[in-house]
Symmetry: C2
Subunit: 217 residues, 2 copies
């Protein structure tokens, strides 16, 4: 799978690949056969050079004078992002957010299949939530392994998050998405992604509070 000389790919580039992927889905629907870096950049408010640099990391699929073939490019980016695979996902904590994510249609569309739910609330355990039984968190390690879960989404309260995280890591899971507002410690070989909505809102709050400053020197 390795490509050419292989420099480090930045997180921003990976993030933009997802953006390109979505744009290409739209372009395909609109009937485009090819798309230039210029037009793709315009639509996503980026620069053409950046689009080309990003794509060039993974080889050269463009045609000079014409642009990129929409279908092929979409397929290739999907492959790079691992969207051609199915991923087994478990969710720990079936509260407001966890519950909402279970029914989030976009996830299933991209190949993220929620296979297991866990909670520690005796009233929830055993009950059926949108077709999935809620399991006792006590059995998490065994079940994650049995069902070959690759990604775990943590939506438990902050105080419980590190303990859950440790158990998940112990079960051998290598990718965790954390919604708890606390910074978790994981070994180097585990990918941890923090999704903290308060932090994002605080960014808005900062921007509104400091609309004047922000620049100059």
């Amino acid at each position: 799978m390795a490509k050419k000389s292989m420099r480090k790919i930045s997180n921003s580039t990976i993030h933009r690949l997802s953006i390109y992927y979505r744009a290409l889905l739209g372009l395909e629907r609109e009937g485009y056969e090819t798309i230039s870096s210029k037009e793709l950049a315009r639509r996503e408010k980026l620069t053409p050079a950046q689009v080309r640099k990003d794509l060039s990391f993974f080889g050269s699929f463009g045609t000079r004078g014409l642009g990129y073939p929409v279908k092929e490019l979409k397929a290739r980016i999907g492959e790079i992002l691992g969207l051609n695979k199915l991923w087994n996902v478990a969710m720990v904590g079936v509260g407001n957010i966890g519950s909402a994510l279970v029914s989030y249609k976009e996830f299933a569309k991209q190949g993220f299949i929620v296979k297991l739910l866990f909670d520690n609330d005796q009233r929830k355990i055993g009950s059926n939530h949108k077709g999935i039984i809620i399991n006792d968190i006590a059995s998490i390690k065994q079940m994650l392994q049995e069902q070959e879960i690759q990604i775990v989404i943590v939506t438990v309260p902050a105080a419980a998050a590190q303990k859950v995280c440790d158990e998940v890591v112990e079960a051998g899971v290598k990718a965790i998405m954390n919604f708890a507002p606390v910074s978790l410690k994981v070994p180097d070989d585990v990918v941890l992604l923090n999704e903290n909505m308060s932090i994002e809102l605080e960014h808005l709050s900062f921007s509104l509070t400091n609309r004047n400053m922000v620049l100059s020197d």
Copy 2:
């Protein structure tokens, strides 16, 4: 409010301010009076130099040889982030995610008050959702203005998002948090924050798919 020579503050710095703020809340609870950049960095997996650089943008509140006073620093960062104010928030789209966010306790704690809900589903309009009446999206412009809403959270389907966004902008709102998986166009003076969970999950998917490559040259 302007501070000293005032260089540009990067988004990463603002993001880390939120992280420091949370860490300081914890430190205060644990009874710390002061904290060094070294220890703060260790806890949040950053470097001491970065902590000091970030904080130095806003003045110097540390004491050499001792560190930063926890209480004061927390208060100061809160002020910088605008957390001492209350923000009026409206939410458009009361589906799975919108509904979950309404009851997300963290928001209220940080001073984000959900004042209005909107939807276009006749079955939902007029009903009471967790103590808040759901309004017809048709009346959005007027109501946003009447209630002096400063922040709008958009959780409608992708296809409807740009239209909603335009109306919100027209109502004079300057901060939008978008959960729809589509890139919205807003004027320069409006802060737009995209919170796209599929993109985040795709990042995990990428990492799992490409654990080997990632570096060297």
